[in-house]
Symmetry: none
Subunit: 528 residues, 2 copies
């Protein structure tokens, strides 16, 4: 099986997508998840462009990655200058990654009209920049921006820029369909021509402006490209980059290529949804391979035939990509995922408990819950099903009041709990309703559980579950928490955002209390 | 230019999509719109399957269609029976259309395992059914279900079924990739082989399970297919049918084929959105050609180059497909972005106003605002800087109270406004604080501005701006609204989620009021 190397640029090109905005913490979490998935290269950002990307490259060095190489992205040096004094190249090297990707111009029109440089100077810019990074001990990938447009307009010049990159030491030359306007047969012909003229490896980077990014990418691989650049779920500017999820699934299943690591394919669906959660985007139900509707059967003729033989209306077994079949008859869903997640509880062999868990997950998902980014809540759900759950506190009532008059808004929350056999009734102000509730809860609980002091709320996200009904629809709140040793997410769903927040907040606190109890039982030291 | 005939099955195969449900009235409206767009054939439904489809065929005869032929869909006769007594074929003929489409089995496995028929009987079922409909004066299209799977498993038998259809009088034989699992080069090879063996016209019907439906369709057309079946926006079962919007745009622009009628291409965006409206689905921002983000530019380097020459990062002029360029305001973009965005206000030459706008955007971005999904708020910001803003109402105070005791949470909001010189003081309950505030605001404003009734909240998203400070951090609320003619986003940022929601809600309402005022000034008719 020929290896195809997967180069993920979700964190860089993906973040150019409309409405996509990753925090530093998001970027680090996603890096770990992509590494787990077996991605070969992770383009972490463009260190010169903003301070967040710069901080990322400092922080990412502390992550215990298994196999992925983190790559910093930058441009060729400015015209009429030396690479040694170029601020962009300096920032690129300061990122201290083993690999860097340098983007340069291929299209003569762009060189003269956008850069205002001569064609010869552009070739020198490419060669100088790559040679300089090589001399500083970096492995260099060269992104040939607008390659296919340039190749169409002036093939000799386009090839000349690639040869300059190769001679300067680029390990891989990546052909970019930057504007996404090229047809698959043109991609195949150009890649084959480049392969015949260069000795180095060739990569492909496609955009989806004609809904052909996947076809173009596969076409390039068939013509000899060995590196594929893209983003998870195809997020990215305009119509997005190529969706690595579809590319990986097609390469592995349809073309029998060696991609990612053994076992990755079965985690594609979970990984796709994790990225949506981090990016605070809605899942796309019809997304090929991993969408919730990708193996959903509605037509009577289809569901009947599928019940008889799934092959009849499914091109692959959904389990292969970690997805599941959905038909009118309710089925025990996501078994393999849930089995994996419950393995540590030693309940996987208990059919009754497993049945309870599956039913609970189905009911909650139907109500709008998603557990992909809420392992804390899932953990509590399993404990409940397995009879291992005793509540740490019980809610009697709460009230939140927000008043806005002449000054700023004033928020006050009261909570009334049963905890350790007594009633705790506390009140607190806060910067907003969730902050006020959190403060009142802590006031009530801290005397009993001093280690709650270590609990920090890291992120808070809200999404409408059924967007059709406006503000009256249900909202899903996802809260991310941490203490000194772990990070976990919890989820709450309600028509009322305050109630949904309460549910997630209460789960977050209970997860922390269970965690401390289990750590103590294991003899692990507490706290940070 | 070779003609490619467009066969729309939005009303039949599209309605198999999860959550898609057209009323009879919707179906008739969509038929007229598709006819206007220049679609050649409109598959209206499956008359046997439900009474609505049967009624549709009665009602559609009254429509004054310009060119489209309405087609009824049905299956081959049951096994071991005569076509004359077959209820499905009877219903098909009772639809009284000039054209009918009959679907039959091509894949030997389906014949024996799903139909439980012999291979010979299936060939007879195809031939009998087509010959019977021909004898009743119908033009017949034959949909070869699972053609590509059948051709792979047993090519001789697959071709035999097609030949039977041709001999029985089918005008077009349509090769269906029913399960959506075939790769483009396999589609091309199979279509070429069929073309060499049949004399009748060949069509193509693709599904998007591998994200290759558009590529497969184009591949088939290049190999000689002259009819393309698909749905508007690619709605349909599982991952959907091929999106006719992308197919039409690619065929017309990239392959210079003759499709639809002159002028159609410029109405594609409008037509796509109309279908979403009818189906009560949200637009897909990244949809190729017609999505709101399809020509949206965010990266600073990109926006700068696009301002200089749109060709540099656009594969086509958005006007060609009736779409428009959008420049997103974000941390990744510089001054040139804002200059481009304000061009329509004729303030771009006023240095003082531009200075005010730039400062305001910078200050607000620093405070956590983002305008890329909030054109409504940006619009109001520009109006304020340009001295074109008079508030429609002023807030005196509000209060929101959420109480959770033994029952579900109860939310009540009061608002006190100055509007049209008087004080409006209203109260409302709601499903949550934002819903309650929205309801109270409407109660106060509707008597003054009845067209606010058209305003619908479509989506509501919340994110923490500085994720490091937990719930005490600022939150950014983005609200998406629509009326009968437009969709717009607004944004609010505050430490308090309720206050942030208020800001976004107030902007959304003001944007609607300004919009109605401007429409009235332009003499445009109001509302839906």
């Amino acid at each position: 099986m020929t290896r195809v190397f997967i180069y993920d640029t979700t964190l860089r090109d993906g973040s150019q997508g409309e409405g996509v905005n990753f925090s530093l913490q998001d970027k680090l979490l996603l890096t770990r998840r992509l590494d787990d998935l077996g991605v070969d290269f992770i383009e972490g950002g463009y260190p010169l462009s903003n301070p967040k990307d710069f901080e990322y490259f400092q922080a990412v060095r502390e992550l215990p990655l298994k196999r992925a190489e983190v790559v910093a992205f930058g441009m060729t040096r400015r015209k009429n200058s030396a690479p040694e004094t170029d601020t962009c190249l300096k920032a690129l090297l300061d990122a201290r990654t083993s690999h860097v990707t340098i983007v340069g111009k291929t299209w003569d029109f762009h060189v003269t009209e956008v850069l205002n440089a001569t064609l010869a100077e552009n070739v020198k810019m490419i060669a100088d920049s790559i040679a300089f990074c090589k001399s500083q001990g970096r492995e260099v990938f060269y992104d040939a921006e607008h390659f296919f447009d340039g190749y169409k307009a002036n093939p000799a010049y386009a090839i000349e820029t690639l040869k300059a990159a190769e001679s300067a030491g680029a390990a891989v030359v990546i052909l970019c369909d930057t504007n996404g306007g090229t047809m698959p047969e043109a991609v195949a012909a150009a890649v084959a021509d480049v392969k015949s003229k260069l000795k180095c490896e060739v990569g492909i980077h496609c955009h989806n402006d004609c809904e052909l990014a996947v076809a173009n990418t596969l076409s390039a691989v068939r013509a000899g490209a060995s590196q594929v650049q893209g983003t998870m779920n195809g997020i990215g500017e305009r119509c997005g980059n190529v969706d690595l999820v579809s590319v990986v699934a097609n390469l592995a299943i349809k073309y029998r290529r060696d991609v990612l690591v053994p076992g990755s394919l079965g985690r594609l669906t979970e990984a796709s949804r994790y990225v949506y959660e981090l990016a605070n985007m809605n899942f796309r139900p019809g997304q090929p391979f991993v969408g919730q509707s990708a193996f959903a059967h509605k037509g009577g003729m289809h569901t009947h035939a599928v019940a008889k033989n799934p092959n009849s209306y499914e091109h692959i077994d959904p389990v292969v990509v970690g997805n599941e079949r959905r038909v009118l008859v309710s089925e025990l869903s996501g078994q393999s995922t849930i089995l994996t997640k419950t393995a540590k509880y030693a309940v996987a062999n208990d059919k009754a408990v497993m049945g309870k868990i599956l039913t609970a997950v189905q009911d909650l998902e139907y109500a709008g819950y998603e557990f992909e980014a809420a392992e804390g809540s899932f953990d509590i759900l399993v404990k409940k099903a397995a009879g291992l759950y005793t509540p740490w506190f019980e809610r009697v009532a709460y009230r939140v009041n927000i008043e806005q008059g002449a000054g700023g808004p004033v928020t006050e929350a009261t909570v009334k709990l049963r905890v350790a056999g007594a009633t705790a009734h506390t009140v607190s102000e806060g910067d907003g309703p969730v902050n006020a509730l959190d403060a009142a809860l802590r006031k009530a609980l801290l005397p009993h559980f001093p280690r709650l002091d270590e609990l920090q709320l890291v992120d808070y996200k809200v999404r409408v579950v059924n967007a059709k009904a406006g503000t009256a629809a249900r909202v899903r709140v996802v809260i991310e928490c941490r203490d000194g040793t772990a990070v976990w997410g919890t989820v709450g769903v309600s028509e009322n955002i305050i109630e949904a927040s309460w549910i997630a907040l209460a789960d977050a606190i209970e997860f922390k209390l269970f965690k401390d109890q289990e750590d103590a039982a294991d003899g692990r030291p507490g706290g940070a």
